[in-house]
Subunit: 254 residues, 2 copies
């Protein structure tokens, strides 16, 4: 990330995409107090059961929402990408029901919870935009449920790759033909309800079928359209601003 950019500029872009903000609203957001923290992969942003005092905004790096079962199995239910406000889910609830953890190393801007609550409740335009962001998160999670509940392993992996690529692309974070997957196969397994071993075999299968190429963690889409078909992927549920119901072809094309 360019060091001369305001740390919250990614978040601001994201909010602005939801509702046209006046310059005072924009200033309000950029003037939010915050404290930057540099974090290693694996460190916790929120722990299950805690009362979060800050709402973190991901400046760079990736994070994920996670919950453990009583038997110690992990389930990942969302991946956060730069620009995401990581704690909107907890902003008005006093006990976090899940944990948020860094997937890679990165930077977090901690905004005091009260400051964010204040603008959500009292600045109706900003409030509306931020509510919309949390509703979109829910929409993404609904698709996540469908993915895990009703698709087989190959479909699940193809789907999650498509979702991830499109989300990155919309944020302008992604060279068009492929991307750097910020997670291990084990984490991919925890996100899709599979085993790491099986994820590995499925990835190999997708590669063997000419749908993707892999070099280390880098995924290259050799057949983007076909991969979407395999993964039963349609982007409407991402509620990408400006696209509405029309199916826009993915920009990243040979």
């Amino acid at each position: 990330m360019a060091t001369d950019e305001h740390p919250l500029s990614g978040f601001l872009r994201d909010v602005t995409a939801q509702a046209p903000l006046g310059s005072d609203d924009r200033a309000t957001i950029l003037n939010l107090p915050f404290k930057l923290r540099r974090l290693d992969a694996g460190s916790y942003l929120v722990r299950e059961g805690s009362l979060p005092e800050h709402c973190g905004v991901l400046v760079d790096g990736f994070a994920f929402r996670q919950k453990m079962t009583g038997e110690g199995a992990r389930q990942i239910m969302a991946v956060c990408i730069p620009g995401d406000a990581v704690d909107l889910q907890n902003i008005f609830l006093d006990i976090s029901d899940h944990a948020v953890q860094m997937l890679t190393k990165g930077t977090i801007a901690d905004v005091p919870r009260a400051a964010l609550q204040e603008i959500v409740l009292n600045r109706s335009t900003i409030g509306r935009a931020i509510i919309q962001l949390t509703l979109i998160e829910s929409s993404i999670m609904r698709e996540w449920v469908v993915n895990i509940g009703r698709r087989d392993a190959r479909e699940r992996i193809a789907h999650i790759l498509c979702e991830f690529a499109v989300r990155l692309e919309v944020r302008g974070l992604n060279p068009s033909q492929g991307f750097e997957l910020p997670m291990t196969q084990e984490q991919l397994a925890d996100a899709t309800g599979l085993t790491p071993v099986h994820v590995n075999r499925v990835l190999k299968g997708l590669e063997a079928d000419g749908l993707i190429e892999r070099r280390r963690r880098h995924i290259h889409f050799t057949a983007w359209r076909a991969l979407q078909d395999v993964g039963d992927f349609t982007r409407t549920y991402l509620h990408i601003p400006g696209e509405d119901q029309l199916e826009v072809a993915f920009q990243a094309r040979p």
Copy 2:
């Protein structure tokens, strides 16, 4: 439901539980315009892709959120119980990404979307309460993801039975020792990511092990504590007002 009750009183109770409302706020909610509709089981409250003009409040009966895959498999991602506002998820998004359908016959109070938007944005106490309700819905869905992604069939069924019983009990809709399950085994399968056949076998298994008794759709808990253990069920994620972190024993006990 008593005919002399205000149709929105269940919703009001639900909102009030989230934030202490003054009498003017309470009046604002009860004075929301609405139109009652009687619906049969299976009828749609919202269709995928539609722009909902009303936000339905479930007066009585049950409903569920649902999405279909391209191959036509159904996944249920939430069950709505009386008092729930069914369209909060769509209130600020213009295209519904999922469908909502009646599980049983019942009554819906359709509140114009704009009226609800207005009070959420401009009445900060009500707004806060309603935002909290949608955040709790998200929390329940996160647990739903865990259930489907990381628990085996027996655990999933046990868990969903526990969740349902507790939610009903909190709303005062439920005789303490058991309840009437408002769904078929096929719907239970669509909610848990299993097959109807397997759901049937698991239910039989739970009964054989003395955890539940069944008469038609009625589920009787013969070993409530043990069933929770089997289902890895803890109620914190339901964010039940007044319970906070303390583990309160289920009231319904022999």
